[in-house]
Symmetry: C2
Subunit: 202 residues, 2 copies
Amino acid sequence: MEVVKRTRMSPAERRAQLLDLGARMLAERPLEQISVEEIADQAGVSRGLLFHYFASKHDFHLAIVRHAGADMLANTEPDPTLRPMEMLHASVSAYVDYVSANRNTYLSLLRGSASGDEEMRDEFERTRAVQADRIVSHLPRLGIAPDARIILAVRGWIAFVEEATITWLRDPQISRDELVDLHVQALPAVTLTPGVAAALLR
Amino acid sequence: MEVVKRTRMSPAERRAQLLDLGARMLAERPLEQISVEEIADQAGVSRGLLFHYFASKHDFHLAIVRHAGADMLANTEPDPTLRPMEMLHASVSAYVDYVSANRNTYLSLLRGSASGDEEMRDEFERTRAVQADRIVSHLPRLGIAPDARIILAVRGWIAFVEEATITWLRDPQISRDELVDLHVQALPAVTLTPGVAAALLR
């Protein structure tokens, strides 16, 4: 029998530890199978203490999803020292590599039963809104004023990237680099007029 | 009290009637609130007879979803007598008008709790696969041989259209015609090289 050492942690550290354990378990099984008891055991704390940090199992699951989203966003943070199309390429490459490395988590969250839960969907939507805002905020650097049509197109592009990436993860018929290029070229293609898009991609 | 007249129908007619009633109810409330009892009452049949056509409530709900998907596909059937870009425009226009007229059904199916159910998601996927196949099947007429990259881009475009349309239905910041144009222009833009896309859109 494994002896679990109970370590004294600050509340913030303990919370982070519980979420890390949850996120790690999410790579191996669907969210709804993440048991509070197992996480508490692994952390060497009581079930009661876990519920001190998260009000319910659902709250804990939501926090894991938020944690996974924040981790993805941190890993795909655009580098503002690059030129716009290079920045986009670097960020999309990081996204494809991140979701490839976290394949199970990504597929089970976005195409699993979590998507039937309204609060989970709200979490995904907040993550997508950050991705969209990042892009929209860089458009003025390209001399493009973001209007309602462009903002809608960027939202659509996020869905394009998500769907094409999920399809690719399940059945990779093209290379990783081809997928990255498909995503990168699609953004100016859907948001801008054909002439401006062609000039950017030259 | 309303007296329900029990009409003698063929099994196929009865099945169609039950599905029509279900689809109509779906415009007013989420799928999970569609009650078998109410539908049976409206049709003037017993709950037992309804279960003769659909093995369970879940089966009935699945059949309603399939029926709604088939109805959308029938309403957006491309007209092969048109030139490719006109055909695309007509089909996308029909799609936007169809989901506008069936707003509640569309939003509750694609962004409601139904999306948490694996068999429901499979139904949505089958509908999307038909939409994608329709497009891919017309590419040779444009002199374009559909390869793995193009097929992936078409899948992504379906998601683009769905997401942008849902965002627009919730908060229409651009006109219906602008939305149609956004969708129509996005398809060659994401699937083809910028030069070919620009030529098609001229």
